[in-house]
Homo-oligomer: 500 residues x 2
Amino acid sequence: MNISMLSLQWLLMIFILVSNSVTAATSSRIPRLSPVRGNTFLDPEIFPAPVSEDFQTFFYTQTLDHFNYKPESYATFQQRYVVNFKYWAGANSNAPIFVYLGAEAPLDGDLEIIGFLPENALRFKSLLVYIEHRYYGKSVPFASREAALKNASTLGYFNSAQAIADYAEIIIHIKNKYQAQDSPVIVVGASYGGMLASWFRLKYPHVTLGALASSAPILYFDDITPQNGYYSVVTRDFREVSETCYRTILKSWSEIDKVALMPNGLRILSEKFKTCRPLSNSSELKDYLDHMYSSAAQYNDPPEYPVTMVCGGIDGPPPETDLLGKIFAGVVGLRGNRSCYVNGPKYISETTLGWRWQTCSEMVIPIGRDNTTMFPPSPFNLSSVIEECNQIYGVPPRPHWVTSYYGGHDIKLILERFSSNIIFSNGLRDPYSSGGVLEDISDSVVAVHTINGSHCLDILPANASTDPDWLVKQRGIEVEIIEGWIAKYNADLHRFKQKI
Amino acid sequence: MNISMLSLQWLLMIFILVSNSVTAATSSRIPRLSPVRGNTFLDPEIFPAPVSEDFQTFFYTQTLDHFNYKPESYATFQQRYVVNFKYWAGANSNAPIFVYLGAEAPLDGDLEIIGFLPENALRFKSLLVYIEHRYYGKSVPFASREAALKNASTLGYFNSAQAIADYAEIIIHIKNKYQAQDSPVIVVGASYGGMLASWFRLKYPHVTLGALASSAPILYFDDITPQNGYYSVVTRDFREVSETCYRTILKSWSEIDKVALMPNGLRILSEKFKTCRPLSNSSELKDYLDHMYSSAAQYNDPPEYPVTMVCGGIDGPPPETDLLGKIFAGVVGLRGNRSCYVNGPKYISETTLGWRWQTCSEMVIPIGRDNTTMFPPSPFNLSSVIEECNQIYGVPPRPHWVTSYYGGHDIKLILERFSSNIIFSNGLRDPYSSGGVLEDISDSVVAVHTINGSHCLDILPANASTDPDWLVKQRGIEVEIIEGWIAKYNADLHRFKQKI
């Protein structure tokens, strides 16, 4: 990463912080939508992922605009994909190809955390392919990342329809390249990538036999899902762990506001929460807590269960501890003993920048909060989002396009006699499950959920010693369903080839 | 139409004629793909269609580019649609909406020739909607037709993916506007419009319940259908009517060449065929005959059956008549007694100009001829097409995109467990049926064909006194199938609403 790129990022961050302070629940407040755990998406150039020797990296010369024939649409870029041949039965074997569809991050991180692919590869003798999403990682059009993210004119090609068209082209290319024309393809995606996986099966059934869409909130568009779905689940997660913990958090927001208004209030809060730098306003603290609770709920993984860790902290201190002292104990409960908290150095990742554009153009996910959650009310305000995005990029979002192109309304009615072979997997403790498909739509468009699961947990690496039974069972069901699809396909293929 | 527009058309025509003379079977040789009978597509500004009082015209403010977020993608244009309310059961009645998807022509002509819609409207109490295809008729982006057709930069948005996205937006708009959110939508299309109808059901199942795709050669892409499929059927049509007629035509091409090479050869041919102007080369005559035979086969409608008319002419003269005299008698048999033939004034229609772009960008239909047809061999040459299109427009076609985006290879294998509710109707005497779906794919993705039918005959106006039984029966089957879809949908809707 060069200097000018860093300065662009900081410039944008300042812009983001400024915009955040004037608007309510706008696009910048949409919780991250990714299988990746941890505080930030790590930049692979700064934190390179450990890369297994089994992975081979390739680049495909990709068309910039699949849906336009203007001369500039013919521009190309190098799109990265990674192949693992280790388990594959080989050319002309008809062994399946499992394709992980990259999402809003560089591909590097995914190679290690998508356990579902390598863990089932031996069983299926499958080829494993990972494709990076355009505009992330090493798959950036135009001369540089800086040029690609410059403005709406260069960002315009950065959307889901173009991305899944990229995937179609690369999969067709791979099937030809490795003489695997009759190999069934199973696409796997997680979170935003899970949406892409299910949409890919809907739009390109001729390229993929089926899709595993993990924690894909495809119904969190327009008014299909209630706006406070996300934060209702966060609230329920905390309440289920501890009613007192929930009540403490509920009361804490006004207490923070009250202290902040006192003389030296911000200094008192800064000391109380051991902030790395003096707080410049109380929102800085509230946003930090907000994000911490949401992340704890979304990534509430066994065996530690972050929500339990936070509530263990909050409920732990002696009864005489004051309200904010308990909240701080919750922070320490999750983050452990550190020299300081709340506003440490913040790394602005590729994902932050890229996803900001995506949520400002196409992926308008109306998450808001009424007065029934443990958070301060903050209704989703579409006109604020439109205004904010217009200010940043000079073009407004198209908030209804996702449902126009992919559907979503009355999904059971629409798809029960159309489509097949999609698994929508969810963990009901994941706040994004509120926008997921939680009921079977047909015999083969099915919902597999766990009551205690978290975001994308099923496709993360298995851990024999700590994975609970329900998780092992969920993964087993998914594998069995996919085996069923492949068996039917092979029978169909056999009949089909005999007939020709 | 203004003067500058006319001059643009003539300029393009000259270009076309010049290009034709240097290349073999290139995109300009693809037979027209339309339900419209007659020699040309009539320009509505010159030949306005008689418009029934039942039709009301509306314009929708349409997005120029659905798949890009560049500032210029947000440009809009007025897209025409026409509604017939006469038979409709009204708002909130859940009565169906039949939507005719416009194809490569102004909508005006379609309003009268699509008999299928009004003739079944009373039975279904349906709303009838006709939507014009972008870049045709009154639905032209940019300041004028001249500006829209200027070059690849303005033509780039002119493709099928954008067109069906337009249809989705307008249908969603109409359902909201007329409180018909739960009304099932059936899309109907013919020829290229039939492809659009079937692709629309595949890509937008949430917007349409089903599709009637009449004479849609969706398999005439890449190498799915043999290149000489089209002309093989033309040949078979003639041979079935008369073996001597077929033989006469087969021998005529070399005879024309032979005469053309004689001193005064072109004058002899011009006199023999009573050409309106002296022939400037023999291709002018051969192209005319080629086109006449193909059209006769494609539009071989009852009760006259043009192929029978041509062969009646060819086989009619006394045995001593020379070969070319017989061929000329075939021309007169079809065209009747006229003052002159072959090269009369030629009107360059919107369709000619628009379809030329479409076949030069996306709709690359590889029709060629080997030495097994009654025509001179003329293999399809993809590199010539690419070169020619690049010369005209400055950008090459994307010949594999249709199968990448819509599929087509192994269609039965792919769709037998995916998709539903598509009727592929064909008449086997239509040369384009060679690229059609002629076998059922599943219970509800079905092929309905007639042995004797011609191009798009089923959706043309019924004629009780002349329609043969097989045609009446074909139409009846189509209506019954659609009734079945709607009945199932209504039952599903009932269950679905009860559950909510």
